[in-house]
């Protein structure tokens, strides 16, 4: 078969309506509104679950070997997308956006008869839209030998290798927790402590020149920023408590910026989001049954275990957070 035939047979195969057709879009519309899956997605997942279609997996060969060794089989790639406009609240928008996307991923995982979804990545495609983000989660649904299909599969951001390692240690990854907070304040005191008093007391406060020369912490701004981070952490804690008894938070993203106003004090906006894998530790305090050997790695460059994977999370530019102190 030439590439061209393949191209077209791909689009017209099976129960799927032709791509881009009105029928296909109408099915998406219905599915997104009613909270189900379009028939062609469902049939793709069902075929894969029954072993009639090849499984798709983000696993590397090492992960495949390790997973198979422990009776875990990849079934299908599952995803969830939610394009969300946060006109009213960044905080709620981000938390809602991820939760909706996760719910859709879970629907797909259930349709695939999965027990868990591993290697879930948080992605965004950066559409040029204001106050809108596309929240996409993407992972590999797996079946564990000897377990019946689950109607509430475990969702884990950890890759298959780490998933297995956690299970070996008696720790079960149970889901994804999100904590987000956003706040906004306005006032000169955030930028220059005591500045507000200058006008009131006719020059008894410090002048801009004095301020520039002095070392001093910006207490109000620190407090404002700290409160945001703390709230985000509390949210994370609350979300974690619903699903398990611990979280391995891998994604931290915070931004603090200033908005200049005409004839008004400047505004300061801070936002912070934390995302992680929730774990359920059945035997806290027990030592992990892992035998470790120390080795001296003769590599000169970064170990492949530390190197960033090319297509991991891309939703938050974590690297822009600043370097170590």
């Amino acid at each position: 078969m030439s590439w061209f035939d393949r191209f077209f047979s791909g689009r017209n195969s099976g129960a799927a309506a032709p791509s881009g057709s009105e029928g296909r879009l109408a099915e998406w519309e219905r599915a997104l509104q009613a909270g189900g899956l379009p028939s062609f997605v469902e049939s793709r997942l069902r075929e894969a679950a029954a072993g009639r279609a090849p499984w798709l997996s983000t696993m590397t060969p090492v992960e495949l070997a390790m997973a198979r060794r422990h009776g875990i089989r990849p079934v299908a790639m599952v995803s969830g997308t939610c394009c969300y406009h946060f006109g009213q609240s960044w905080t709620l928008g981000h938390s809602e956006g991820w939760h909706l996307a996760l719910a859709r991923l879970r629907d797909e995982a259930v349709a695939a008869g999965a027990n868990a979804v591993v290697d879930v990545k948080l992605r965004t495609s950066r559409l040029p839209l204001r106050s809108t983000m596309d929240f996409t989660v993407l992972g590999t649904a797996v079946r564990i030998d000897g377990l019946p299909p689950s109607d509430d599969p475990v969702i884990a951001t950890v890759p298959a290798l780490e998933f297995v390692r956690l299970l070996q240690s008696g720790i079960v990854p149970t889901g994804i927790a999100i904590g987000a907070h956003y706040n906004i304040v306005s006032g000169e005191k955030y930028e220059m402590p005591g500045r507000g008093m200058i006008n009131a007391r006719q020059g008894t406060g410090q002048s801009a020149r004095q301020f520039a020369r002095q070392n001093q912490p910006l207490m109000d701004l620190s407090e404002f920023w700290e409160a945001i981070r703390r709230t985000a952490m509390r949210e994370l804690e609350r979300d974690t408590k619903l699903q398990g008894d611990g979280v391995l938070a891998h994604t931290h993203f915070g931004q603090l910026f200033k908005i200049e106003k005409v004839k008004a004090p400047p505004q300061f906006v801070g936002r912070h989001i934390v995302i992680g894998t929730v774990v359920h530790d059945r035997r806290p305090g027990t030592n992990a049954p892992i035998e470790l050997r120390t080795v001296l790695d003769m590599r000169d460059d970064l170990s492949p275990l530390l190197a960033e994977r090319p297509h991991g999370h891309n939703a938050y530019p974590v690297a822009s957070e600043g370097g170590p102190i």
């Binding site: 590439w3 061209f4 393949r6 191209f7 791909g10 689009r11 195969s13 791509s19 881009g20 296909r24 879009l25 998406w28 519309e29 997104l32 062609f40 793709r44 279609a53 090849p54 499984w55 798709l56 997996s57 983000t58 696993m59 590397t60 060969p61 090492v62 495949l64 070997a65 390790m66 198979r68 060794r69 422990h70 009776g71 990849p74 790639m77 995803s79 997308t81 939610c82 394009c83 406009h85 946060f86 006109g87 609240s89 709620l92 928008g93 495609s125 559409l127 040029p128 839209l129 596309d134 996409t136 035998e291 470790l292 050997r293 120390t294 001296l296 170990s303 275990l305 090319p310 297509h311």
Partner: protein
């Protein structure tokens, strides 16, 4: 293999000098690192030569309707066709060398400076041959297998009881509808899901995955490892996005290995950070 008509004389010259069975004095070329080289040999294969396929492609023009979610099939086809051509040329070179397959295939797309619609696609990898001449490692239809797995991953895959068949891919270029003015005014100051955008991104990704899966079915694969989903917009309009799925289709070596025979990796802690 009667490919001599398609391959220029200097390339034939090069192929003749390469190492293969019955020609042990030849040299080999590869872009392997030392570790990769050792592991490919440990897996029972010998590298014979770098295989390259290039395709410079003029991508046609297609605009999406401003307010419509739709696949831009002219662009989808272009992106797929160009990659397929580059891969086919690489495979042809490998077949000429007598390779059983190509490992560590890298697929790149580059925009050429002078034009916005000319793209350069390149596929490059190292052709390998089974050291004992085992015939069972060829890809579908007796062609050399292709795989984007590194030498290390190739070794591991064989030890997990699978062999690579071919790289499978699916492409979908999609136009995401713009929102009407009234609709966007209605959303000002509100938190809402923009379902038409969700739907477009979802659909585009689904199509790319379906196409890849279909290729895997054609190849007779049991599964696809290392699937990667790229999103890219190759300087098209702002609302045009390409979803590209790629992975290596695999099949069990003979009968599926019993899980207990797969070696458990040893955990080590590297003490020099």
């Amino acid at each position: 293999m009667s490919i001599t008509n398609d391959i220029p004389p200097h390339a034939i010259e090069r192929l003749r000098g390469l190492r293969k069975e019955g020609h042990p004095g030849g040299i080999f070329t590869s872009d392997f690192s030392v570790n990769e080289f050792l592991l490919v040999r440990k897996a029972g294969f010998e590298p014979i030569g770098l295989c390259v396929g290039t395709c410079v492609y003029h991508v046609g023009i297609q605009y999406g309707s401003w307010n419509k979610n739709q696949e831009l099939d002219v662009l989808s086809q272009a992106m797929y066709h160009a990659r397929e051509l580059a891969m086919a040329r690489m495979r042809m070179e490998a077949a000429g060398m007598g390779a059983d397959g190509i490992v560590g295939v890298e697929l790149t797309v580059k925009r050429l400076e002078w034009s916005t619609d000319v793209l350069e696609f390149m596929a490059i990898g190292t052709g390998v041959v089974h050291a004992k001449g085992h015939p069972g490692f060829m890809g579908p239809k007796g062609q050399p297998f292709t795989s984007d797995l590194s030498g290390q991953d190739f070794w591991t895959l064989l030890h997990a009881g699978y062999r690579p068949l071919e790289m499978v891919m699916g492409s979908c270029v999609y136009h995401v509808a713009h929102q009407g003015f009234l609709k966007s005014m209605g959303n000002v100051g509100r938190n809402v899901e923009l379902t038409n955008f969700s739907q477009a991104l979802y659909d585009a990704r689904e199509i790319a995955m379906e196409r890849m899966q279909h290729e895997a079915i054609d190849a007779g694969a049991e599964g696809v490892v290392g699937v990667d989903l790229h999103e890219g917009s190759h300087a098209w309009q702002a609302h045009v996005i390409e979803f590209f799925a790629i992975g290596t289709a695999v099949t069990p070596i003979s009968t599926e290995l019993d899980a207990s025979t797969i070696p458990d990796p040893q955990l080590v802690l590297s003490v020099n950070t």
